[in-house]
């Protein structure tokens, strides 16, 4: 039962988890530097080389802060919420193939696992908002529930085209399918756009950060959170961003594929960094739509578009392969 592959995958768990969390830490710093550069200001530049230890300093601060629980809230769910978000996001990385061998579990339902985990994360946000017993958190939680459940639908529907082209839910198969033909971002351009929008809504980053919308709800669902519980929520957010970027690279940009002068894992890394930078650029540039505008964008524009995309891709697959 317990073969060499199993051992390999267990051995990978710790490096992947630590790597992803470290990546989130670096990303906090990188995002702030990049925003600073784009916004004609300095950004963190004091701690370490170009401020690179700033995120670490912040982490130390968060870890040593008073671990406060709102006496008016629901203790159990208040503590559980950040754990659920972070755990769900980390668990999703179980199926992410960085290279054909660098994957913890290669599964033929990998894509479904990713969708399931991102749906789990909704619980964290929702419970965090409700258990805080704070009106701003409640409004944020409500927004999160509506927004994330809605965009969950498009997140799933938008990648069906890719699945049809590849004939598999396995992420490794999907990448391999792009080896000889076009990378999916060309035939599935529509799917990519919708996936990016839905992914942004799902990770609730600006411009779709309505559940926390600082200018309206102060901090939305995590208003009452402080210390490391707040830190976990932030970490989950950045992990989600990395996860989303990895998925985009795998589904649409040929994963680890690339000219052979660089090893596959480097290609993967380069692509992911480019996608992440794109997301940071979006954050710097675009204002936030109103909550009901985001909803009607989803149901009135994105839903018909995804259905058209699925129909067209299905017809094309039938026509060429069936």
């Amino acid at each position: 039962m317990f073969g060499i592959e199993d051992f390999w995958s267990y051995a990978l768990i710790l490096p992947v988890a630590v790597g992803v969390l470290l990546g989130a830490l670096v990303l906090v710093w990188w995002e702030r530097r990049l925003l600073g550069w784009w916004q004609d200001r300095l950004g963190p530049n004091r701690v370490g080389w170009f401020g690179s230890l700033q995120a670490l300093a912040d982490l130390i601060k968060l870890l040593t802060k008073d671990d406060w629980l709102p006496p008016f809230g629901d203790r159990v769910f208040f503590i559980l919420a950040p754990i659920i978000v972070t755990a769900a996001m980390l668990l999703a990385f179980v199926v992410v193939p960085f290279t054909p061998v660098l994957v913890i579990v290669e599964s033929n339902i990998a894509l479904l696992w990713f969708l399931a985990m991102s749906a789990m994360a909704v619980y964290g946000v929702l419970l965090g908002g409700l258990s805080s017993n704070n009106k701003y958190a409640l409004l944020g939680g409500l927004r999160a529930a509506a927004q994330m459940v809605t965009y969950e639908v498009f997140l799933a529907l938008s990648i069906l085209g890719v699945v049809m082209l590849s004939g598999s839910f396995s992420l490794v198969d999907i990448v391999e399918n792009q080896r000889d033909g076009l990378w999916h971002f060309i035939p599935q351009a529509l799917g990519l756009v919708i996936f990016v929008i839905a992914g942004l809504a799902e990770t609730h980053r600006l411009p779709f950060d309505l559940p926390e919308a600082e200018h309206e709800l102060t901090a939305g669902f995590h208003t009452e959170y402080s210390g490391m519980k707040f830190g976990l929520i932030m970490a989950a957010e950045y992990v989600a961003l990395i996860l989303l970027s990895c998925l985009i690279v795998i589904l649409f940009f040929g994963g680890w594929l690339g000219p052979s002068f660089l090893p596959p894992v480097v290609w993967f890394g380069i692509k992911v960094v480019i996608v992440i930078n794109f997301f940071i650029l979006l954050r710097a540039a675009i204002p936030r739509p109103r909550y009901d505008q985001l909803m009607s964008l989803g149901w009135k524009i994105l839903l018909p578009l995804t259905l058209v995309n699925i129909l067209a891709t299905g017809a094309w697959v039938l026509g060429t392969q069936g």
Partner: protein
């Protein structure tokens, strides 16, 4: 001056109308600002104002100001009816370009007066303020309660017996019971505002937005009655930034009050000095030399740009666009470096003086100013692409919080927020002051009066201000920067070491400050956020007997419920961002 009406001047038609309608007891008073000032019986106040608003030949659409004067210690009241507390109404007719000041005499043992809130909605808060500050009871007012001071405050601060300094009071005590009582009194009780906690099918949520909230631009609290995320009713609550500017004016010399004015609209800088010093100059009869006038215009327009840039950035930021505010702060910084080079200060230079400005312009000012005028338009084009033309921003702000010109005037809205509704009333054009009539510039207007238009108008005003500044730089007159008048403060220093008389004169004007003859006067200017004015009364002393500060932000906040009901919380933020207010300007 507060002297009996002399036959030389013909009273304006409206005054004789009032006398024929409301009887012989209607009396005329002259003031140095030449606004007709009439005293009417308190029984008639509602009828008089209703007549003036609806039936006068040129209707007075705007109740510009309403407050009171404690007259009990005033010596120079020649020809005025006996009064211990005078409530005054400053009305304006934009269609006829007239002003009218209506005064009502009250005695301390019977401070009752009918509310005019049903005629001019804007009177609601002004009456609450007069009640708060003087204890005047406005009968028929829907909710007469304190507005600027805390609910449990004792006394009425602007009454003369109320102490102005901590040294005139008992040592301050702050106990836990006191704090609890104060906090309890601040709790929002919907029933007090005629709201119910539930309707047929919904329970309303009451959300306390502020006084500390990222988007209320200071300490401003607004209690919201929410149905889901939709606003049913909103109740703004102000007073968290109240510093008693009007009380301080009564204990500072005419000269030493100038730095306090900088802090009224703290983004307006010297723009706040301008109406104050112009008012004192009119009372003292000083003519300001051309060079000083143009320098004042140039600096005021610099501050208009600085204030509008901050508005522009925070407007974009409040609808969720993260970056513009940084670019605009960087540009504002360039502007501040010019202001710093000229005045030595940045946000609060207190640089205008009675009779002129502090110093002459420094070497190199011309290059700095013209460089900025060359640099800025390109940046504005860039911002326009980035923010105003952004579709998401347009969807967030177009059609949000709209009102028309008549509604705006009902609520006392002036300045850019009124011009966004299509009115082109600008004091710089309609009543040029400080040599504005010598400049070429346009008055930008918009038509929809919504949040988006309020931003568009301000952005265009930045361009027009740049035009004015360039004209100032190209045509700066030579000559003195201070008036040659005995009340100019401080007087020119050069000759003080030559004659003992000039030395004494300098010493007195610096230490005691100038003495202003007994009179009343009001001066208003087109400030960054609307019309700002000082209405000062001198009793012949070195300090103001009463100084009324009328600011544009105060009525703008009162209007918020009227334009935001039925919208969502996110829209309220867009509306608040578009109003362009400063809490210091609201509470004073």
């Amino acid at each position: 001056m507060a002297l009996p009406q002399e036959a030389a001047q013909e009273p304006p038609g409206i005054v004789s109308d009032l006398i024929t309608r409301f009887g012989e007891s209607t009396r005329l008073q002259t003031t140095v600002d030449d606004y007709p000032t009439v005293w009417v019986d308190r029984e008639n106040i509602q009828d008089v104002l209703r007549f003036l608003k609806h039936d006068a030949d040129t209707p007075y659409e705007l109740l510009y100001d309403l407050s009171a004067i404690d007259e009990r210690l005033r010596k120079h009241r020649d020809g005025q009816p006996a009064s211990e507390f005078t409530v005054f109404y400053h009305l304006m007719s934009l269609s006829g370009d007239h002003d009218l000041r209506v005064k009502v005499a009250l005695q301390d043992d019977d401070l009752h007066l009918k509310s005019v809130e049903s005629i001019y909605p804007v009177a609601n808060w002004y009456e609450r303020e007069a009640f708060d500050m003087f204890g005047v009871q406005f009968d028929e007012h829907p909710n007469l309660r304190r507005i600027l001071t805390p609910p449990l405050w004792e006394g009425h601060p602007l009454r003369k017996e109320h102490p102005a300094r901590a040294t005139e009071m008992e040592p301050y005590q702050y106990s836990e019971e006191f704090q609890d009582a104060q906090q309890e009194a601040l709790k929002f009780v919907p029933e007090e505002w005629g709201m119910s906690r539930d309707a047929k099918h919904t329970d309303f949520m009451f959300l306390n937005l502020g006084p500390n909230h990222p988007s209320v631009h200071g300490v401003f609290r607004i209690a919201l009655q929410l149905d889901g995320e939709v606003i049913v009713q909103a109740v703004p609550d102000i007073g968290y930034h109240h510093r008693g500017q009007e009380k301080m004016a009564e204990r500072q010399s005419w000269h030493t009050y100038i730095p306090y004015t900088d802090r009224i609209d703290y983004l307006g800088g010297v723009m706040n000095n301008l109406p104050y010093v112009m008012n004192v100059e009119r009372m003292a009869g000083i003519t300001v030399p051309d060079r000083a006038q143009v320098i004042r215009v140039m600096l005021s327009e610099c501050f208009r740009i600085a204030s509008h840039l901050l508005f522009y950035g925070t407007f974009a930021q409040d609808v969720g666009q993260m970056s513009p505010v940084f670019y605009m702060f960087a540009d504002r910084e360039r502007l501040f470096s010019i202001i710093e080079a000229i005045t030595g200060g940045r946000m609060h230079p207190s640089w205008f003086r009675i009779g002129g400005v502090t110093q002459d312009l420094p070497d190199g000012w011309y290059e700095m100013v013209t460089d900025f005028c060359d640099y800025m338009p390109k940046r504005l084009d860039h911002y326009e692409k980035m923010s105003l033309q952004n579709k998401i921003l347009q969807r967030r702000t177009k059609g949000i919080g709209a009102y028309n010109t008549a509604e705006g005037l009902d609520w006392g809205i002036t300045g850019p927020s009124l011009r966004a509704t299509g009115s082109d009333w600008d004091l710089r054009k309609n009543r040029p002051y400080s040599s504005y009539d010598q400049f070429e510039f346009d008055i930008p207007t918009a038509s929809n009066g919504d949040s988006y238009d309020r931003c568009v108008v301000r952005v265009e005003e930045i361009r027009q201000s740049l035009r004015i500044i360039r004209q100032c730089a190209e045509n700066m007159p030579s000559g003195p920067y201070k008036a040659d008048h005995r009340s100019t403060t401080p007087p020119p220093k050069e000759r003080t070491m030559e004659h003992i008389e000039t030395l004494i004169h300098h010493f007195l004007n610096v230490s005691w400050g100038p003495v202003v003859p007994p009179c009343e006067s009001e001066t208003l200017v087109e400030a960054t956020k609307g019309w700002m004015g000082f209405y000062s009364i001198s009793d012949g002393g070195g300090m103001a007997y009463r100084s009324r500060v009328r600011t544009p932000s105060f009525p703008a906040l009162q209007q918020i419920p009227f334009i935001s009901n039925g919208f969502m919380v996110a829209d309220l933020i867009a509306i608040i961002a578009s109003i362009d207010f400063v809490m210091a300007d609201v509470d004073r």
